[in-house]
Symmetry: C2
Subunit: 220 residues, 2 copies
């Protein structure tokens, strides 16, 4: 994994966690870094990647370009780190608080929160999955890891009997996650006239049907 | 649309169809170009985009680099044009010959051929959807157009009563196409132990269930 990390990115990670600084300074650096990433999330949700320059980011943050480079060595690293933070944030939001809900209700609540997130970050979401720049190796790795974590949570939500998940169920659920992404994008960009609740319910029903069908077919 | 075409690409298109050459020469140029793209398809199915140089392509074709540049001004243009040719080729393969089959059988046959194609072009398929370079603006446009054409064919296959497709049906079908892509990738890369017929049947069932559910929910 570490081998995949571009040198600049490794340097950014190093800067953020440089061990030689005293704890309070480190915390302040980390907070500042997080604030910058929050700001980036807002910026990349307003304009496309290509439309935003390092100067714009520094200006919006009210700091010098030099200081910005201290935290993030390039626009690409800033974007990649922003995607990483956004993915973690999204996972936190989606996680349903009430673990006692039946699986299907947990899925419904989770999807609702996912669609909340997607709606609130429409442009950034579209950039991530659609635009030319969205997919470089580092971003692609983050997207894949996020899908795997979503899959793990769904499987966990299915309950004990499925602790060892049959490959066919994992396969249809990975497919289903792709469906959620594609349908979300299509809904955001072109078919907002479809009520969101209907989209959510259709996605829930489809997960249910797929898992049941996979279990039936998979064991034959 | 034309405005989206990078200048180099426009030049390549121009070179391939330059109107001043006599018809026989033009045809020979077009044939040669197609042969080169076929070769490219094979190369990009063996190795990743970054692993293949313009020199490799020229060597494999047995022509000089200069002559290759005559057909394609850069590796990226060569790749983009290869993706365009591959998408057209895939659509031809998937199109079921027998238009009298019931919708569900047409879908099953179409999916079978799609999976044939995906299996025969596994590495290129993964590069297209997964790797860092796969998605630039030109490639992304081709992928989107291909999805739209697949959607149009499915809708056509649903028959006359649905000539005017409700948005909710279009939405779930766009989602479904995303599921087919994600499940195909996951199957190719990680879950080949699931029999292909089972994957195909689950995808067919899911399309059927989704359309029925969308029609029910969409009209309420």
């Amino acid at each position: 994994m570490h081998g995949l990390m571009p040198r600049k990115l490794a340097r950014a990670a190093h800067l953020a966690t440089a061990p030689r600084k005293p704890p309070r300074v480190r915390r302040r650096l980390a907070d500042r870094r997080e604030q910058l990433l929050d700001l980036g999330r807002a910026l990349f949700n307003e304009r496309s990647y290509d439309e935003i320059s390092i100067d714009d980011i520094a200006a919006a943050a009210g700091i010098s370009k030099g200081l910005l480079y201290h935290y993030f060595p390039s626009k690409r690293v800033f974007y990649v780190e922003g995607v990483r933070a956004a993915a973690a944030h999204m996972l936190d939001i989606v996680e349903p608080v009430d673990r006692d809900l039946p699986p299907i209700d947990r899925l419904r609540v989770g999807l609702d929160r996912y669609l909340d997130y997607v709606e609130a970050n429409a442009r950034a979401y579209a950039t991530l999955f659609r635009s030319g720049m969205g997919v470089d190796a580092a971003v692609s790795t983050i997207i894949e890891e996020t899908r795997e974590r979503i899959l793990a949570r769904i499987v966990e939500g299915l309950g004990d009997p499925l602790r060892v998940i049959p490959p066919v169920v994992a396969l249809v659920l990975r497919g289903w996650i792709g469906m959620v992404e594609s349908a979300s994008l299509d809904w955001l960009e072109r078919r907002r006239e479809v009520p969101r609740d209907i989209l959510r319910d259709l996605l829930v029903t489809s997960a249910q049907t797929l898992v049941v069908a996979a279990l039936e077919r998979g064991s034959t």
